[in-house]
């Protein structure tokens, strides 16, 4: 059983991704609405992968991913950036992979597994 953490400020996107992960992929789900809250949830729930939206007010996805990498307890966590902009490719070095937004909820689990090399 995999556990996914999504950090995104849009509640509707979180609700859709939750169903995509819980119902379609059959995995466990945790979520946070900001980068700061996401770091807390990650410490408490030790997810197998963290999806981070790039466009967030205040602490954006890049800053959030950097904070994960700077934290000794969290730096090993696989991170995937969600972005609608192709120019965010230049942040590829910081994370394990990039998923284009909007994601397809029917294949979200498979896409995460493919990026992280998980057996499905």
């Amino acid at each position: 059983m995999r556990r996914i953490l999504l950090i995104d400020d849009e509640p509707d996107i979180r609700a859709i991704a939750r169903i995509a992960i819980e119902v379609v992929a059959g995995w466990e789900w945790t979520e946070a609405d900001s980068g700061l809250a996401g770091l807390e949830v990650a410490r408490a729930t030790t997810p197998d992968a963290v999806l981070i939206d790039v466009m967030m007010p205040g602490m954006d996805g890049i800053a959030t991913a950097s904070a994960f990498r700077a934290d000794s307890a969290l730096r090993e966590l696989p991170l995937i950036l969600l972005t609608a902009k192709s120019m965010d490719d230049r942040h590829e070095w910081l994370v394990n992979g990039i998923l284009p937004k909007p994601f397809d909820p029917m294949t979200l689990g498979n896409d995460i597994a493919r990026i992280l090399g998980w057996d499905t």
Binding site: D9, E10, P11, D12, I13, A15, I16, A17, I19, A20, V23, V24, D33, S34, M55, P57, G58, A84, K101, P102, F103, D104, P105, M106
Partner: protein, 375 residues
Amino acid sequence: MTEPLPCIEASDIVASVPLGIVALDPSGSVGFANRAACDMLDWKLADLIGKNFHETAHYRRDDGTAYPFALCPHAAALTDRRPRALDRETLWRRDGTAVICDVTASALAGGGLTITLRDASARLELARAQEEFVGMVSHELRTPLASLLGALTLIDVEGMGADQRESLIGIAQRNAKRLGRLVDDILDLEKVRAGAVSLTRADMTARSLSESATDAVAGTALAHGVSLVIDTDESSFWADRLRLEQVLTNLLDNAIKHSPKGGKVTLRVRKGPDSVLMDVIDEGAGLAPEQLQRVFDRFWQEDSSDKRVRQGSGLGLTISQAITELHGGAITGSSEVGKGMCFTVRLPVRAHDLKVPVDLRSDQGDAHDATNPAH
């Protein structure tokens, strides 16, 4: 052939055009420059004359590397006497700052070249702003579209609870409405800005305008636990009622969404000697000066985790400003952090718009009556 008018000198024409003109002798040295060229390059004519133009204003490329005269198309034009046109060429002012120009070079009858310089920075700025706008529009449209499509994609997935399915339907409906609002607002704003909207002015009282504007947001106020207060005089004026209601509704809606629960939003309308002032005042958190500067920008929304605030299109204030300007008026905002916001719409009242209440008219011998046979 018509003779030129004797009072017009060719040199006066050259001096007056808003296009930089520089004449070069066959060696490439400046023999003349008009005022626009001197202003653009920040040189005095006396200092520029005799200098090699390329070595003075064209000596580096846009990336800052050296640009030898021999490689410049103008050097070639001096020899082959064929015209050249360089778009968005970087020239250098006397103080070393860059100015982007569209440049042409054409052969002068006695040898040498005439160079024209047209400042391209306004055009480039416009192109940049349009690009930024398209980027913002696509982000603003894609966000609800992604939710809408995501919800519809999942809606008949097996193994979902009834409550989950219901929440997906809610997401689809909410985001379809948000998309609709955005599209309406974007089109409305573009129409107003393009001047494709004509105002249908009519006589109205401040009170009835205030009442219909507050009626339109009464539901929102109730939902947010905010009370609405009307404080208006008994004046009447001449304006486009529906458009003005739209302005006030946008401002009131904005004020309500920035108010704390139990807060108060006041709409105050007062007519002065030459203008009508409409204030929308809230008791919210207010804005810092640097945020206040941006409130009328398209799609600007303050960073806020408060989802009530981010439900709008981010265009309401921009549209309100455009409509007010169409009336010849202006909107200003004032605020102090922690003390709420006050937006003021100031509409000019022209002399013939002034409507004096009936009971005062006989005392004042209203001179405007003659222009207004309806009364």
